[in-house]
Amino acid sequence: MDFEFTEEQKNFREEIREFLDEEVTKEVIEESESGMGFGPFSWKLMRKLGAKRWLAPSFPREYGGLGLSRTYRYIVQRELDYRNALAFVKGLGLVGVDMAAPIILKHGSDDLKREFLPRIAGGEIELALGYSEPNAGSDLASLAMRAVEDDDAYVITGQKIFQSHSHFAQYHWLAARTDTDVPRHKGISLFVVDLGSPGITINPLWEMSGLRTNETFYDGVRVPKRYLVGEKNKGWYYVASALELERTLTIGYLERMIEGLIEYTRETSRNGVALSKDPLVRQKIAEIVIELRVAHNLVRRVTWLQDKGITANYETSELKLFIGELFQHVAQAGFDVVGLYGQLRKGSKYAVLDGLLESFYRSSFLPSIGGGTSEIMRNVIALRGLGLPQQH
């Protein structure tokens, strides 16, 4: 047993930290806080990380990575999260690096790999996730967007929803139905679509956290066949096998929130006594720190399994479930500790922690939903982790 990073990993983390301490500027954080997606400063940071091969260190060298294990990618994402940089949907990584690229690497054609992987790793492009539809959320296999073969292209029509990256990403990582005469899991294919293609309309939807997400409409969009990922009708299986990567949430943002709360209890007195000396406050803070440490170990387990090349399936669902719900526990503990002042927004007179708790609260409902709801996670754990019988 060994619960620590190797010396190389520690050195890598040190390098990343030094770099990000310098490069995560006020402007980068403001772009994160704006909820509007990557602006010029975020793109600049993406490209700088890419140039150092640090955005996707676990990619092979030929595609812009360092050929290192998943742990290195986790180290980078944790540090970004912790600094609230390039972070929109809290705890989730990048669509290109973490969701699309692993599938392209495993199943994509050489042309597709050459066209996209170096640009993803280089921080030049980002993709928007295109799975959910208005009538296909947890029941993703019921998705209805149609892709029909026409000569050298697929013609795609339908609607996607909840793509927080569509308005600033260059490409769409899209799941669409290519066959309606087979069982529904067997008629789905994956595409990489240029979001500038004629026939695509993107409309904003505004989340309570202040985050812009989108609904994206396809009206007869022609996508050249070379942008089909892997084999036709295999999309569902590709997605299912890569979900474990999507669901590997990091805890950097939670750590930052909790550290902020601890600092607040030290600096704030009620009735002449520091909050940090109040037994109930101490219990609350300890409670969430303990949960965070449990979460940290669940993350360690998944990255360790992934490094060993073991498919961490239900283990990732445990992690996603635990961390997804931890956001709400931390928000509640935060309000229990801070009380009246907790509701004050950033910029408001008397705001504490620069309004962080107020905005944290508003972002705390999505983590137990996006990337697979807690209920779907429990299904996976029950069926795959415990071998309980399928529901009829």
Partner: protein
Amino acid sequence: MDLSFSPEQKLIKDAAREFLEKECPADLVREMEEDELGYSPGLWRKMGELGWPGLIIPEKYGGSGGTFLDLVPLLEEMGRYLAPVPFFPTVILGALSLMEAGSEAQKQKILPEVATGRLILTMALIEPDPLYHVSGIHLQASPQGNGFLLYGTKIFVPYAHVADYLLCAARTENVDGKGDVITLFLIDRESPGIRCEPLKTVDWGRQCEVTFDGTKVPAGNIIGKAGEGWPVVQKVMEQAIVAQCALMIGGAEKVLEMTVAHAKRRVQFGRPIGSFQAVQHRCANMLVDLDGARFVVYEAAWRLSQALPCALEASTAKAWVNQAYQRICANGHQVHGGIGVIKDQEMYLYSRSAKAAETLWGDTAVHREMVARELGL
């Protein structure tokens, strides 16, 4: 990063399971609840023959020189089978204290006997003002002649009624009169003036009240130095906390397995109840609780083995395992339904044991407070 047991540790786990599956059926646990001794001398002797109590004892004292982490797979299995033996007090409280601070003569005399299961040790620590803290120690040891006289009461002393030696933390006057300090004594339980009375508890683990009424202890029986007992106790407590957690994980794992097996077997509405989402989600929560608990305990145990600071990790582990095991038992009972509270079944043995374990070596509030302290609050 490596979060798994070594091949040797896996062997320990497999061998322990094979042995206990055969030698420690639930009926033995039930029998011991009514038994006067409260433990099975036969089972304890066989464990001694297998060298289990000596696993962590250095080879020069007849043990196998294992690490603290090597104990974890063994403790997990003992927790799984609720093994009614005085392993914990003998090895964790007794042997580890002697290994930490005992004199060469004490070690040579006691440890080889412990390693083969011929001696039972325990620690008399907690008093009626129950604190896992130095301020909770009031029992007085007054100098008299070439030794000390002990007066006072200790409670929650596991297996004191069958122990050969008690390790007792007491307040002693410093030789230079600098006020009271804690000294750890090694006391023959047969010494005059000692009375042991098992307490009736939620489970069957024999925890005793031990009264010292002018018990004479020779100065040579001090463990370590006079007045320097508390750091030894603290170090042993840290190990006891993590060892207790390992026992609890083993029990929790068994509860989950029994519950899942029941959910697959039990048919209602024409289908196994384990195919209902309401039941599946309870079981899923149990697995998350178990795995969450498992790795914080392993982390603490690993740090102990590496001699790294471990106060934060040990308290994190106990606070979390306390709650997780309680929830696992509550969910286990709910899925078992009515049959789970019937004494023919095993579920109730675990939920009782879990509650006692929750209170031992610090309940959740105690360990949250410890975490707060470690955070510098």
